[in-house]
């Protein structure tokens, strides 16, 4: 009897559509900015905005295409492959800031004097050809590469830079990390650790962002100034993506983030605001 009643109630409720909530899914790099903007808009304008980070950038794009979200947070440019995979979706991406992606290492590697790596060295580390830090001027300790999960924007930007594309990236097996927080906390608590991480998340106490050095060129440090000047190659746009032009709550959220208070949030989290981001930030 009670069950019948419960089913009945469920049926009635199911008929009532949820209020026009905006669902945002995607990148943990973009998340702090959007989450806080959403919290402000919730408190001040009563807008309903749900933010979730399951699956990272590509998870967000998949959710947008499947109709599980109205907005994706994406910490990389939208690619041809995305449009091919979801031909029915009219991807409209709005850049809200830029960010330097860095190779971030643990304190013991940093204090042993490793300050920058060349692309070839990064390849060696990623492919496990370089197994000990002593081979690149670091401590005599094995390299622990915490690889960002596939589908994370960070990982795809890294793969694009290092190998010229996701498909060309060799198959490797490393321990995997998901969110930026997880990457940071694991590097902080592990000796000889390295990961691909937004430079803004390296705290300079237990985690340190390395520069990139090619012979004959000055070291490119992942600083905001270097990204603004286009001197750091591993920079990327931070975007929110909608299917078709943003309308309604999505529009208001975007307007807020692009406005003064929203851009202040971008800066507060260590990212580059649009005014300094050089259009889209000189991504590769």
């Amino acid at each position: 009897m009670r069950r019948t009643f419960a089913l009945l109630v469920a049926g009635v409720l199911a008929g009532v559509p949820a209020a026009a909530a905006l669902r945002v899914i995607g990148s943990t790099t973009v998340n702090p900015v959007v989450s806080e903007a959403a919290a402000i808009l919730r408190a001040e304008a009563g807008l309903e905005i749900q933010v979730d980070t399951a699956g990272g950038s590509s998870g967000g794009i998949a959710a947008l295409a499947d109709g599980r979200a109205e907005m994706a947070m994406v910490s990389r440019p939208i690619k041809v492959a995305d449009r091919q995979r979801f031909p029915g979706v009219d991807f409209r991406s709005t850049t809200i800031g830029a960010d330097a992606l860095a190779l971030v290492v643990s304190a013991d590697v940093w204090s042993a004097g490793v300050r920058c790596l060349s692309r070839e060295q990064v390849r060696g580390l990623y492919e496990r050809r370089i197994a000990r830090w002593s081979e690149v001027g670091g401590p005599d300790r094995q390299v622990v590469f915490f690889n960002k999960e596939p589908g994370r924007g960070t990982w795809e930007v890294f793969a694009d830079w290092l190998y010229g594309g996701v498909e060309a990236t060799p198959m490797v097996s490393h321990p995997e990390v998901g969110s930026n927080e997880e990457a940071r906390s694991k590097v902080a608590s592990t000796r000889g650790a390295i990961t691909q991480l937004s430079a803004a998340w390296a705290d300079g106490v237990r985690t340190f962002a390395l520069g990139l050095c090619e012979t004959g060129l000055p070291v490119a440090h992942p600083t905001r100034a270097a990204v603004a000047a286009g001197d750091y190659p591993l920079s990327r746009p931070l975007t929110v993506v909608t299917d078709g032009p943003p309308v309604g709550v999505a529009r208001r959220l975007i307007d807020f983030v692009l406005g003064g208070r929203g851009q202040a949030l971008v800066t507060r989290h260590g990212y580059l605001p649009l005014s300094q981001a050089n259009g889209e930030g000189g991504h590769p």
Partner: protein
Amino acid sequence: MRKWIDRGLPIACAICAVACCALLLGIVATILARGLPVLSGEFLSAADGELLGSGGIRYQLFGTVLLVATALAVGAPLALGWALVQAVWVRSQRGRRLLRRTLYAVNAVPSILFGIFGLIVFVKYLDWGKSWLAGGILLGLMIVPTIAVALVERIEALPAKYVRAAAGLGLSKGRIVTSVILPQCWSGGASGALIGLARAAGETAPILFTAAVFSGVTVPHGVVESPVLALPYHIFVLAQDSFDPEAGAHLWGSAFVLLALVLALSLLALPLRLRAAEEAQHG
């Protein structure tokens, strides 16, 4: 030699027993020591703040209570029906054994599989998106064996003379169920339900893909696309980020509240449950 064994065995076993208790004490003490300082009326009643992992856990708590209540509403009637079929209506031993085996099999299904099943049925097939109702139904199905087994144990332990006396009074079997069996056995069902609820409250895997999001949700308005926040999922997400001291405090506070909730439910069930076990043992 014999003497040594006779002395040594109880000592060794007692050490094992003490170690088990020490583990519980250690776990509870650790959570208590870090979680208690965070706890305040505001922590329980405030919504989460602008910064990730700041503010209170009002809607996480609400979401967990909603999920658990739904699980009870779904699981209890199903379990009651099952228990009556297995212990009362079906007379053949083979039928009963088959039902019992099936219940054990359902009980053994890992909780993550309920989550994937929910993703297939509710998210993919019914197109509900994440919904509190999906989570509640999954958790409810998950605790059916817990409640049903507790009930069946009670019904089977019921002295046969009660039923015979009732039958002697000319009561129909349906009447015997409602006026003899259920009143005598409700405590079994209640203890099973409490244990089941404790389990449902602490589960993360079934709601991971089907019901819970991390932030931005308050009270659901409908069913479709109506996720909730939930304490276990909140802890799960924050636990992957064990670095930020601010989030850390929030994390331990949440863990403390969840543990308190679950242990309170288990404690409520304890007298009923252990007494039933003793009675079953001594007949």
